[in-house]
């Protein structure tokens, strides 16, 4: 409201923050540009090796496909559920929020222990394939972020009036959901989807322990022999998260900020 100069202590803290956040990124970039022969700057060899590695393409494709599958399943599962709970069973909402906290509180390592145990007896087309087991795990992992994004989205619109208006004009449940409700929660759904994308593209714990070759385990494998390529891949991974977050900010512009943390540590 009132014009004032930035406080000196604020400058100090912000510079500290900038240094702490940027130095590892810049260092990674410089590191990835080192030449394999001379260990000196600068060479694009690491990058050219990556793009010629078919494993790079296959793992990143697998991660991306998994992300899309997780997003699709999550949306199909949670949009109607959250809609129904908001419309008809508002008393269940706290229960659902509590459930959504479970994957958040339970460490992924514990989750994977539980899941591997639970699905041990499952048919091999499910248990042995990333599209089955891993996607299921990721839907669970993404549940809190998807739920809270959708929950916020549904809360920001007048659900009852929209539904009643749509039905009084002759629309059935399906039409109401797809033609009336969905366009109104699009931003929330997109927000949840981008977060899910970021999670799945970076998820290492579950993928590696259940021995699937997605993108993050691939970086780990590369690191064991080729540090410069690993740095390049790390940077690339960072850019993927950046893209997802930037998309999140862009779709959510001018709206209540969706949840922004969905990490896979």
């Amino acid at each position: 409201m009132r014009r004032r100069w930035i406080a000196p202590s604020a400058v100090v803290w912000l510079v500290v923050a900038a240094a702490f956040f940027l130095i590892p990124l810049i260092a990674t970039l410089l590191f990835s540009l080192r030449s394999i022969q001379t260990n000196k700057c600068c060479s694009g060899a690491a990058y050219s090796l990556i793009v010629h590695d078919h494993q790079f393409w296959s793992t990143i494709r697998l991660s991306f496909q998994l992300a899309l599958e997780t997003i699709a399943i999550s949306l199909l599962l949670f949009v109607p559920t959250v809609y129904w709970v908001h419309l008809k069973l508002p008393r269940l909402r706290p229960v659902l929020s509590l459930m959504a906290l479970v994957p958040f509180v339970v460490p992924p390592i514990v989750l994977v222990v539980g899941l591997l145990n639970l699905y041990k007896g499952a048919p091999s087309w499910f248990y042995d394939k990333p599209y089955g087991f891993l996607a299921t795990a990721y839907v669970i992992l993404a549940f809190p972020y998807m739920f809270f994004a959708l929950d916020a989205g549904f809360r920001s619109i007048d659900l009852h009036t929209l539904t009643e208006a749509s039905q009084s004009l002759g629309a059935g449940w399906g039409t109401t959901l797809t033609r009336v409700i969905l366009p109104n929660i699009r931003v929330a759904a997109l927000g949840g989807s981008f977060l899910t994308l970021a999670i799945v593209m970076g998820e290492f714990t579950i993928a590696s322990l259940s021995a699937f070759k997605t993108f993050p385990p691939y970086i780990q494998v590369v690191n064991e022999s080729q540090p410069y390529e690993a740095a390049a891949l790390s940077l690339l991974s960072f850019l993927i998260v950046w893209a997802a977050m930037l998309a999140l900010v862009l779709v959510g512009r001018g709206r209540p900020r969706p949840a922004q943390v969905a990490a896979t540590r």
Partner: protein
Amino acid sequence: MIVGAFKNAHGGATLHHMHQIVQQPYRDQYWLTIKVSLITAGVGSFLGLCIAYAMIREGTPRFLRTILTTFSGVAANFAGIPLAFAFIATLGTIGIATTFIKDHLGYDLYAHGFTIFGQTGVELTYLYFQIPLMILVIAPAIDGLRAEWREAASNLGATSWQFWRYVGIPVLLPSILGAFILLFGNSFSAYATAYGLAGNSVFLIPITIGFYYSGNVVSDPHFAQALAFGMFVVLAVMMLLYVPLQRRSARWMR
């Protein structure tokens, strides 16, 4: 589903596993994991709070806030294997920062006991997602600090320090405690980052669980489940400590 997993951990000669996980070396590993979590949550909360306040306070240009918030969204999510390598590239034995400091400042970090693959290294790396997470979760609380409170306090004769002592910190305390516990859990359950960084040198409990589970080493799923159950207990104890503290600090809200 998760409960089911733990029931199996009990199945058969259960108490044996439960007894085992409080023995060495696991007791030390739990303790190390808790210590790393407490330190990174504490330091992360403090630094995150200071940075978030610097970002929000009057006088700081608005665009800096937008940049920092977006960046925090990225950094809080940029964890796991890639983060580990970013830090290895920076502060590893031949990392950019390590060589820079050695060549230009004449100080050899590794000759003085530092290693990115040790406990300090892991903690430093964890801060890279802990601080941004703190910034994200504490920013709304700082936004809630009204300018009127500051002004009323100074009007009544309080210095800036006295304002923070009597009003600012007490008002933020419930949020800070909540954020701290979140950061603790965040660090406690971190697996990928530590694995990528120091999989063979810093024995945190999640890494040990991974070893027992992956089958590369001695595969003993039941014991891994017992260890996982132990993690669960630690988190539950933290929550039990947290709830009354939170209640006390938020007395004035009810």
